[in-house]
């Protein structure tokens, strides 16, 4: 194939490259082959050397995998993937065993290892532990020692696993549309450095995303010292500018609030989705849930927190609220004012009464509640609210004496410009003025996600535009405009460090050498600093060697690599306010004086118009995950929408405009027009239409291209999060939206059981309704037919009072159990494969503001499983430890079990869903789980591979498995610890849960005796709530039989 490409004059597209690569890649190591074929494409002999050099660069870094073994590890895996997948009958084909040439000390074939690193999402770090099978990362877990993880992860960190192996990742250096090499880029970079040193960096601009990496920040600052005329801009489409500017207004300096939900009895959220958006969300979720379940296990004590939420569009935070009020985003500011007035905050302006008409009592009740809990209450303002609301929020918290108690203030964890939007605008103007001759875009994708009114793309394209260097994981919209595109290394391939919401720093260490020869931002900057060839690992080490006591450095460094968290010393002079925050966050916080409101200018938007509300997508975030099949197919909380976004409208608005679900409307905002399908969303504010960012990518890969519509096309720098004057006009077109739940009402069935804390105290066993008790243990055959294991009986309990419906369990399960992605057309046929789904039901009469409850549903592992009875071939039956086993290779696919499952948790391979052809996806599979073939049933196994591993280890050690020793994937990832799993026969978390008065089994009346059971949900509504709230209250009536 070499000549066929050599003759080509036209530039090669990425897809051509990958196709070529795939053609070349045989059973042999996929990535290695791709390099080779690509080097042929590049028609450059030096390519192979470059590869091996890049490799030796990380020699030893990959925990002892040397070049040879690294080049072979995939082949080794190749064998075990051939092993995955259910083979047919007939004689087996001969298999190869390929040993190492020289076996690394610490690698034991068949035994996984875990390494600490950290994910960086929108600037804030989440500590991770990554499972690695013989040099091949397969699964991500949270790092318990990291404050932003506490052992849990969000959906994004889970999906990073797939992101790493994404076959559509950019794989080669591209120069002017032609494949090129890193050496040639280095030549260019070195030349650029010389030129820029000459003119003090005039005309050199660097655009990054939010940077919290101390090392990278240090590198950039050193660069700016060397080239004073150069400028560093940073832009994040989901920026926290407002929070920082709000603090600036109130305190005179840009600060970031650090929440301490564990101390808050009463929380008022002003459009703040603190459970799923913003730094430390996992930390907050845990703290919130812990407070939520105080008084839940023993009805006596009552310290359960109470949550008021005011928000334009339903979020999972709103779903957890005891009192939720949907108001337009523009009116949240008035909600804040109303509270401020009620709390007599001086300088607070009057609220426009008719904006909140009918809800006065709501606010008075909330205000009273806040007053009653001075110092133990908290007002949180959302990222999507303008600066003045944040300022007002600070004032209210100050008035309530919460600052320093439930919220502390800290300098931003982010380095670089505090006003990111401002710096992007400035950059754009400079480009337009032709003042920029070289622009380095490190990771950012402004061509896609910059506000539309900046016309950044045009500016870059016009002939006075700069030489554009783009570093990115994908050959994306911005790369298309770039003169140089350099593939960016995934963080699992890279050295680095990252700061968490509270300032804690975690070291990122690579789990594997760059699959696609990617580079980090640090490496690019290093070249400009003249540190060519300095291994990235050294860059990081050098930074920390300067900051940690020399004598103990090596120990500290190893410690940091093992724990994933680095112990900082009080900062040295030069480094920005480095060390302290962590200390501050815990110890007595430094005082920043009383917040003042005098500098605040109170904007007032015209009312009586539709407003458009922009939100980061719950699963694609700002679009960076658009090519991630797991996240595309992950149901979005609340809407359960997959594969695309929609214009969310309230039932009332839909009524008014005569809109139906799936109907396409034209959204016209200022001059821009976008076509979007409608999804009618109960709980949406009537005048607000919410659109999620991150969809409608045009150049990201096979998965993400053209999915959904691009909401950035409506987003303007003066209305980053919401704006008035949206025009909605219906069309006759329809775009079917792939939702995974079509029916939203429990039909009066006792599926999710809930009560107010008051009702709970009266009748603690409210959840154990008659239908349950009466049928309990009723059976003609009470005893199992075969002797049961006397040591182990596995069971799972899910605390609905803790579950926040974030769907992390679903994606963690997908990652652990090789669950395939099926695509939009299959989801539309309701054929999604998720083993654990999060059901969402609306409660109460009010469609405008219903109660929302979540219920994760994995396999129930019924002791009397209806599925087993009807299987004609014993493909599903019971183990002596109480597992409902599914034997894929025995299944003939009659689907009778699926029909007969009352919980509908069984999933069927209608086609051959598993992707066994894409080479780069093979290493992704968990070698301990069979890859299912076409025509077989599958379902939750309680992560039987983990049970087996634990059992085997225990047996080899001559002991029995501990009650809580086995951690299922869904349990491990859960931010709120809503899921407990273990052995019912011994003292364990699950035993405890099953004794709780809130304990109940789903559809117990059927006598299936589920091993997966639930703890009922509790709400803590304000007794003084007004009749207006009655509708919301209905949602928390206990429902007996």
């Amino acid at each position: 194939m070499k000549p066929s490409y050599k003759d080509q004059e036209t530039p090669l597209t990425l897809t051509e490259l990958t196709r070529a690569a795939r053609a070349a890649s045989t059973s042999e190591a996929a990535s290695a082959r791709q390099w080779r074929s690509l080097s042929e494409l590049a028609d450059d002999g030096s390519f192979l050397e470059e590869v091996s050099q890049a490799v030796s660069g990380v020699r030893g870094a990959i925990h002892g995998l040397d070049d040879a073994s690294r080049r072979k590890f995939m082949t080794l895996m190749g064998a075990s993937f051939a092993l995955a997948g259910v083979a047919g009958c007939s004689v087996q084909p001969i298999e190869k065993i390929i040993p190492y040439v020289e076996q690394p000390e610490d690698i034991v074939p068949g035994k996984p290892m875990f390494f600490a690193t950290a994910a960086v999402a929108g600037g804030d770090g989440v500590g991770l532990l990554v499972e690695s099978h013989m040099g091949r990362p397969t699964k991500i877990e949270g790092n318990p020692t990291h404050p932003a993880s506490l052992g849990a992860t969000d959906v994004f960190s889970q999906a990073e696993m797939l992101a790493l192996y994404d076959p559509d990742r950019s794989q080669v250096v591209v120069h002017e549309g032609r494949v090129d090499t890193w050496e040639r880029f280095l030549a260019f970079a070195v030349d650029l450095r010389d030129r820029k040193l000459a003119n003090k960096g005039k005309g050199l601009r660097i655009l990054t995303q939010t940077v919290t990496s101390p090392t990278l920040a240090d590198q950039l600052n050193r660069l700016l010292e060397a080239m004073p005329e150069a400028k560093w801009h940073s832009y994040e489409p989901v920026t926290r500018d407002a929070a920082r500017r709000g603090a600036e207004l109130a305190f005179g300096e840009p600060l970031e609030p650090v929440l301490h939900l564990d101390k808050a009895d009463v929380i008022v959220s002003l459009d703040a989705d603190f459970l799923s958006w913003g730094p430390g969300r996992l930390h907050h979720a845990r703290a919130f849930a812990d407070r939520r379940s105080q008084g839940a296990d023993a009805p006596g004590e009552a310290a359960m927190n109470r949550l008021y939420v005011v928000e334009p569009t339903p979020t999972i935070t709103g779903a957890m609220a005891d009192h939720r009020l949907p108001v337009a985003a523009r009116d949240v500011s008035h909600a804040a004012r109303a509270l401020a007035k009620a709390l007599k905050v001086e300088g607070a302006p009057d609220a426009d009464a008719n904006r909140l008409a009918g809800h006065e009592t709501w606010f008075s009740a909330a205000a009273a509640d806040l007053l009653a809990h001075k110092g133990k209450s908290l007002v949180v303002v959302g990222e999507g609210q303008p600066a003045e609301v944040h300022a007002l929020g600070h004032a209210i918290n100050a008035a309530l004496g919460n600052i320093g108690e439930t919220v502390t203030l800290a300098p931003p964890t982010t380095a670089g410009p505090a006003d990111q939007l401002g710096s992007l605008v400035e950059l754009t103007r400079a480009i337009e003025a032709g003042e920029v001759d070289a622009l380095l875009i490190l990771g950012a994708n402004p061509a896609y996600d910059a506000p539309v009114d900046l016309n950044l793309a045009e500016a870059l394209l016009n002939d006075r535009g700069p030489t554009l260097v783009h570093l990115g994981t994908h050959d994306n919209e911005t790369a298309a405009l770039a003169n140089w595109h350099v593939p960016e290394a995934h963080f699992l391939e890279a050295w680095g460090d990252v700061r968490a919401f509270d300032g804690t720093v975690a070291i990122q260490q690579p789990l594997i050498a760059p699959l696609y020869n990617g580079r980090t931002a640090g490496e690019i900057v290093a070249t400009l600093l003249g540190e060519v060839g300095l291994p990235p690992r050294e860059t990081v080490r050098r930074y920390w060697r300067e900051r940690l006591p020399a004598e103990t450095f090596e120990a500290a460094w190893t410690q940091a690599l093992r724990d994933g968290v680095i112990k900082e010393q009080p900062a040295k002079s030069d480094a920005d306010a480095d060390g302290d925050e962590k200390a501050k966050a815990e110890a007595k916080p430094k005082q920043y004086g009383e917040p003042k409101l005098d500098k605040v200018k109170w904007a007032d938007a015209p009312t009586e118009e539709l407003e458009i509300v922009f939100r980061p997508d719950p699963t694609l975030w700002d679009g960076r995950y658009a090519n991630n099949g797991w996240l595309q197919e992950l149901p979005k909380p609340i809407t359960t929408l997959t594969w695309g976004n929609a214009a969310l409208v309230s039932p009332a608005l839909a009524e008014r405009l005569g809109l139906q679900n799936n109907q396409v409307v034209e959204l016209e905002y200022r001059e821009a027009v976008v076509e979007a399908p409608v999804w009618i969303t109960p709980g949406q504010a009537d005048d607000s239409v919410t659109v999620h960012l991150g969809h409608g990518r045009t150049r990201v890969g096979r998965v993400g291209n053209g999915v959904g519509f691009n909401a950035y096309a409506l987003r303007r720098s003066d209305a980053l999060w919401f704006g008035d004057g949206l025009k909605v006009s219906a069309t006759s077109k329809r775009i079917p939206l792939a939702v995974t739940q079509h029916h939203h009402n429990m039909e009066g069935r006792e599926l999710v059981r809930s009560a107010t804390i008051g009702q709970y105290r009266e009748t603690p066993d409210f959840a154990q309704a008659e239908e349950q008790s009466s049928h309990h243990g009723m059976s003609l055959h009470p005893d199992p037919p075969v002797p049961q294991n006397e040591h182990h009986a596995w069971a799972m309990a899910i605390d609905l009072n803790r579950c926040i419906g974030c769907n992390a369990c679903t994606i963690a399960c997908q990652a652990e159990n090789n669950i395939p992605v099926v695509g939009k057309d299959q989801v539309l046929l309701s054929r999604e494969m998720h083993w654990i789904r999060v059901d969402r039901y609306y409660e109460g009469e009010s469609e405008a503001n219903p109660g929302t409850v979540f219920q994760p549903v994995p396999c129930m592992h019924c002791e009397k499983a209806p599925c087993e009875l009807v299987c004609p071939v014993e493909a599903t039956l019971h183990s002596d430890e109480g597992l409902n086993e599914m034997v894929y290779n025995r299944c003939v696919g009659t689907r009778y079990c699926g029909n007969n499952c009352p919980y509908k948790v069984r999933r069927f391979n209608w086609f051959h869903y598993a992707d066994e052809t894409t080479p780069s996806l093979k290493p992704l599979n968990n070698p301990d789980v069979t890859v299912r073939s076409r025509g077989v049933m599958e379902k939750c196994t309680y992560c039987v591979q983990r049970i087996n591993e634990a059992r085997i280890n225990a047996k080899m050690a001559g002991r029995t498995v501990g009650g809580d020793e086995v951690v299922t994937a869904c349990q491990g990832v859960c931010p709120t610890r809503a899921i407990v799993f273990g052995n019912m026969l011994v003292e364990s978390a699950v035993t405890k849960a099953r004794q709780s008065p809130r304990h109940y089994a789903l559809l117990a009346g059927l006598g299936t005796r589920p091993r997966t059971t639930y703890l009922a949900r509790l709400n803590n509504p304000n007794p003084d709530a007004t009749p207006a709230e009655a509708s919301a209250e209905n949602s928390v009536e206990p429902r007996h039989g």
Partner: protein, 219 residues
């Protein structure tokens, strides 16, 4: 003339009728035998290997312990295949220029691993853990036969589910004290054979009931 057939037709017709009934049964029997034959189970079939490695010579002749090459057999699911390096520890000194060992030297020279053809190959959906079997006192010989007497390695047991179950249902006769696991020629002491042979079940904490759960091997 109503007589349509020749007298021979009588015999013929009866033969046909008979074979219609018996034929299918015979076919089933044939298949039954076939799936148990070496054609299917590959018992006794020697596989072509890059190097004609003789267990007989190395184990029986030189008395090298299994674990010298299969290092992780006691701890891990995979017994582990010796890296080229291991071979060269000796063969850099002895037979260092034998043409038979050229592939090994080439491997080390070019950093290209040797590619062996798997002899004991379980179906893809079966998960076998060497470590636990060794720890529970299942001798190598139970599954691999007298590999120490094989000049060229081949399968001695059929490795069918039926065969696995024989032991999983009734492990006693096939267990031995842990220290004898690697002794290829071990036989239960003559005195009260069965008693001594089944004694490892309690001492090695084998939970027999558990061994027939499907998920023990299939996940």
């Amino acid at each position: 003339m109503p007589q349509v057939f020749h007298p021979s037709a009588n015999t013929l017709s009866r033969v046909v009728l008979f074979s219609l009934v018996v034929g299918p049964a015979a076919l089933l029997g044939l298949i039954y035998l076939l799936v148990r034959s070496p054609y299917q189970t590959q018992v006794g079939v020697v596989r072509e290997q890059p190097v004609q490695f003789s267990h007989e010579h190395h184990v029986n002749g030189l008395g090298i312990d299994c674990r010298f090459c299969h290092t992780s057999v006691e701890t891990s699911a995979s017994a582990g295949m010796p890296p080229t390096h291991t071979c060269m520890t000796c063969h850099s000194q002895i037979w260092s220029d034998s043409p038979m060992l050229e592939p090994v030297r080439a491997s080390l020279r070019n950093n290209e691993p040797l590619e062996w053809n798997r002899v004991h190959d379980l179906p893809d959906f079966v998960y076998f853990h060497h470590g636990v079997h060794v720890q529970k006192g299942v001798g190598c010989v139970e599954c691999h036969g007298r590999i120490d007497l094989m000049p060229l390695a081949h399968r001695e047991k059929p490795l069918t589910m039926e065969w696995c179950l024989e032991c999983h249902r009734n492990p006693e006769p096939r267990l031995r004290p842990k220290e004898d696991v690697f002794a290829m020629d071990w036989t239960p002491p003559a005195d009260s054979e069965l008693a001594r042979a089944s004694e490892p079940v309690p001492t090695n904490h084998v939970e027999v009931g558990q061994l027939t759960n499907c998920s023990i091997c299939h996940r």
